[in-house]
Amino acid sequence: MTNLPTSPATIEDPTQAYISDRAAAGAVNDELIDRDGGLHSHWAPLAEAYRRLGSAELRRRQDEIRIQVEREGVSYNIPGPSASPPARRNWALDPLPLVIPEDEWQALERGVAQRAELLDAVLSDLHGPRRLLRDRIVPPAMVLSDAQYLRAADGVTLPGPRQLVLAATDLFRAADGSWRSLGHRTQAPSGMAYALDNRRVVARVFPRLFRSSEVRRIGPFIRAYRTAIQAASPPGRDSPTVVVLSAGSQSETAYEHGAIATRLGYPLVEGSDLRIRKGRVWLKTISEQLPVDVILRRLDALSCDPLELRPESTLGVPGLVDACRTGAVSVINPLGAGVLENAALTSILPRLARSVLGEDLAFATAEAWWCGEATARSHVLANLGRLVVRPRSRASLVHSIDTTRLAGAELDQLRRRIEAEPTEWVGQERIEPATSPVLIGGRLRPRATMLRSFAVADGDSYRVMPGGLARTAGDDPDQPVANRLGARSKDAWVLGTDVDSLADGERIRIAGAATTIASTPARAAENLFWLGRYAERAEATVRLLRAVAQRRADLQPGSTGPDREAVRHLLVAATRITGTWPGFVGDDAEARLAEPGDELRSLVIDPDRPGTVAHAVDRMLAAIEAVRDQLSVDTWLVVGSIQRRIERLDPDDPERDEAEAALLDDLLHGLLSLSGLATESMVRDQGWHFMDAGRRIERALHVAALVGETVGSANDFPTEGLLLESVAAATESIVTYRRRYRWQARTSALLELLITDPGNPRSLRFQIDRLDDDLAHLRASRPTADAPSATPLVLELSRRLQDADPDRLAAPDPDQRRPGLIDLTATARDLLRRASDGVEADYFTRQLPQQAVLAPVEVPRSRA
């Protein structure tokens, strides 16, 4: 909706303000402003639309975008120092698009396709006849000593005319207004899913503007991508099974791995989900081993096979290179494609184009010089202080170095490094990409802008995504455009109309032919199971802590009566139930019982302490991230809210008790929404039953622990009454409890409600019935006829519950202990833990640790 502000006083024309701001800077190279300081003609309709919206409304839309991005969980990870986990950041999307007029795009599109053709030809040659090296068109040392030149991938080819299935080219508009390329991504190019997200969100937040602008669609390109992936399948596989191989949830673009898998409709897997048998690759699902035909890899080639490539990698599949070599599986992009990212090779693309394609490049590449050549090296060394210096290989841990920012001693140090290993370094002209207006701090500000374009093999030629992923510098205008430096993104609008050819229809038909995998990958099943367990654990712990807080709030100041006794009981029980020793039980327990605030707070917010709310939520979120492709889109609405709430904890908040209570309420709200989604929006497939089984086991464990730890011993009447109320509150059964047993607090009544009542969704009995049902569903999909090992344990517990009599359970012995109750809850906990282990053993078959073995060249004689 474009609600136009009516009061002229609130209207400020955002783009006009931008043009005025920029006028002071003189001539500018800008996407919105032309040479004469006026508005580019293709920007006129948008500028008009933003004028009518006004600055205030534009800012509101920016907030709307932020909310949508958060809700959908669009994010990326910034690698932490060494072993620490990465920091998750929300995707930053600017409300204004990058706009490219139709005629300009046509030229750009041809140039991007031409580059893909060139790169493909170079790749085929370097891993085939190597004519470019023999004829010294490419200096051999430039390539032969690059770690990404994989000799193991020599001669490995994909079926079909093109080896490079997906190529990304990073573009910028140079000072003369022309587009140039900075480099390429050919290994496992990222960004496509983000481009799709940008489009979806911007089109939703600016529906009228988007509709009226005639923007070319991205959808047909994604279908072409699917077609290309399936066309690369080994010959004779009619409906190929395709998987997306992720580098795991810690990788920088983990979000995108799941998002692209979902969008393409292929399962997301990790290396440990795959194994090689009889020379073929198999996906382990919970019911069968499924032969895999195509692997869309999202990890670096060197990590793909610990046998032939990097031995320490645990992300890959041992033997994968050979499976590619024999043509049993197609890996996309091919394992050898990383060599094209060699920055030295990029520097000689113009002459390669003339030699390989017999034509000049349609647009230039940023000028660069490989230090492995003497004259180029002299040039780079003479111009240190003016150039950007980058390592030849992207595998290097060093980023680009802007030498204009280095002081004398640093320059000398860099000079020595280059002189010591010249082949490893490339000098490159410092680029100054055109700016575009970015809404920062409520005002449009100029930021350097890059465009990552995507080309996908389309038969013998390449098809280019209309637009691509536009990115700009972030808050600091002087930083290069990089995610780790807070870059922002823009939707890229190519103006014009789509031509839907007949070929597209054909493509859709082919694209539909991939095998749909009915069975859940084993790792996904495992994550869903633990998602169920952690979600339930988080909810139960929140409820328990709320009940404790409630009881403390009712405490009379200075009281030594039953109310204080009940609080004390609950605190001790809380430690035992959550397993957070020493807490209110072990050493120094008395001090903590006297001042329980800090310990209770820790039970909420300490993510590094197993048993706390934050720990369970963290684990739950990690499980969710790992099965992104299995969950409904709405899940992210809920997950986003939970995550934000956890991340915004301020440990030093002065209003701590109130903040804590509010936090628990909000988390409970989020967790309930999540379980609501599980009930109402998830298909009852295998995955759901795993999740439900996890939930049931956890809830049953919790109820057994709660009842056993609170009323396992009888208390004086008033204390017992207060405890019963708290237990009922912690199990969401207080209303029923009060309604049914309004007039008297009776332990046996609560035990009936929480243990034997088959109709109370919080009772132990109810969980066991559901668990039995879940296991029965899963048993049907098992490859063997054996009953799952969890089943007899569950049946045993079910039998015990049927025999249980609440009155007998509640009866204390002379020592005021309730032996029947203690025995039943202890037995239940033991059986449930074993049942959980049984589910894991039956379905998830954990792989033993991977180890590399290397025979030394010479074995020393025994020194006996």
Partner: protein, 310 residues
């Protein structure tokens, strides 16, 4: 000479291994002027999949995958090979080897297959230290054969053979300082020196005749896998030389594989899935002349309790 080679590699693990995948470069083939008459590779337990291929460097490689639980893995490679054609190649001073060494360095016209061995590889990086070490033997215009033989002798004299001094991954610059190591290190030092001077040199792994001819001492590297160096002498082709024993790698040497450095051609590498904390590796190599009267020797060597890499 015709040799019968038996190379056994055995891993004993302290816990079951569920999957063992391996790559074996012990298959003798027609390399370096030798002729392979027959060969065989047996893996126990029986692999569910095993195949052979040629690698980038022209070596025969076997790949196998064992997928039944086991605590012992045994790989036995056997071959019969004829090295007679190399019998005369003992003297590097013949023919082109008398050319000044500068004439056989690599240049713009060098074949790619040779050039590959003249540039840096992961374990052998050219350096000024290597040039400085080699230079005294490579004076201007000196015949390459003479210079090579002298450098080889100097390495043999300056470096101590010491199995405890280095590991598989000890960097070359460290070996150069330590002045000790095993045949792999000796070979890397020589290769590094030659490459730093602009010559092409490659790493050769293989075997050395077990029993010395009467009256001669048993050589270092017999009963084991051994490593030496191939040097490219321009039109003279590749010439084998062994810095560990300070002699040309002639008819008593059997090549199993060659590459840029050890990393390209380990005799065995693998990946296992196991909770094993230690593995015991036992390797035995027997290289016997094909002569019915000769007594077979099969000496066991053992590296006990070496922790497997994690």
């Amino acid at each position: 000479m015709i040799y019968r080679i038996v190379h056994r590699t055995r891993y004993d693990y302290d816990a079951p291994v569920t999957v063992s995948v391996g790559e074996v470069r012990q298959l003798v083939t027609d390399l370096d002027g030798q002729r392979c008459i027959d060969r065989d590779l047996t893996v126990r337990p029986e692999p569910e999949h095993q195949r052979e291929r040629a690698d980038y460097f022209g070596n025969r490689v076997a790949l196998f995958s064992v997928r039944e639980p086991h605590t012992t893995l045994e790989v036995v490679a056997t071959a019969t090979v004829d090295t007679s054609a190399r019998a005369g190649s003992g003297a590097p001073v013949d023919g082109v080897a008398t050319e000044p060494w500068e004439r056989v360095t690599v240049g713009p016209g060098t074949d790619l297959e040779v050039l590959e061995y003249a540039i840096d590889s992961p374990l052998v990086v050219r350096s000024q230290d290597l040039v400085d070490y080699a230079r005294p033997s490579f004076s201007t215009g000196r015949p390459v054969g003479e210079a090579l033989v002298e450098l080889c002798s100097r390495i043999h004299a300056d470096f101590a053979f010491d199995p405890d001094a280095t590991e598989v991954d000890t960097p070359l610059e460290e070996v150069l300082v330590l002045r000790r190591g095993v045949c792999q290190d000796f070979a890397h030092v020589l290769i590094g020196c030659l490459r730093s001077l602009g010559l092409a040199a490659r790493y050769v792994s293989g075997y050395l005749e077990t029993d010395p001819p009467p009256g001669q001492e048993r050589l270092v590297g017999a009963d084991r896998t051994h490593a030496w160096v191939g040097v490219h002498l321009g039109a003279g082709g590749w010439f084998g030389i062994d810095p560990t024993n300070d002699q040309p790698a002639a008819a008593r040497y059997v090549t199993s594989a060659h590459g840029r450095d050890y990393g390209d051609v380990p005799p065995f590498k693998g990946v296992i899935f196991s909770e094993a904390e230690t593995s015991t590796l036992t390797v035995s190599v027997d290289v016997a002349p094909e002569d019915p009267d000769a007594e077979a020797s099969d000496t066991e060597t053992s590296d006990s309790e070496s922790p497997t890499s994690k």
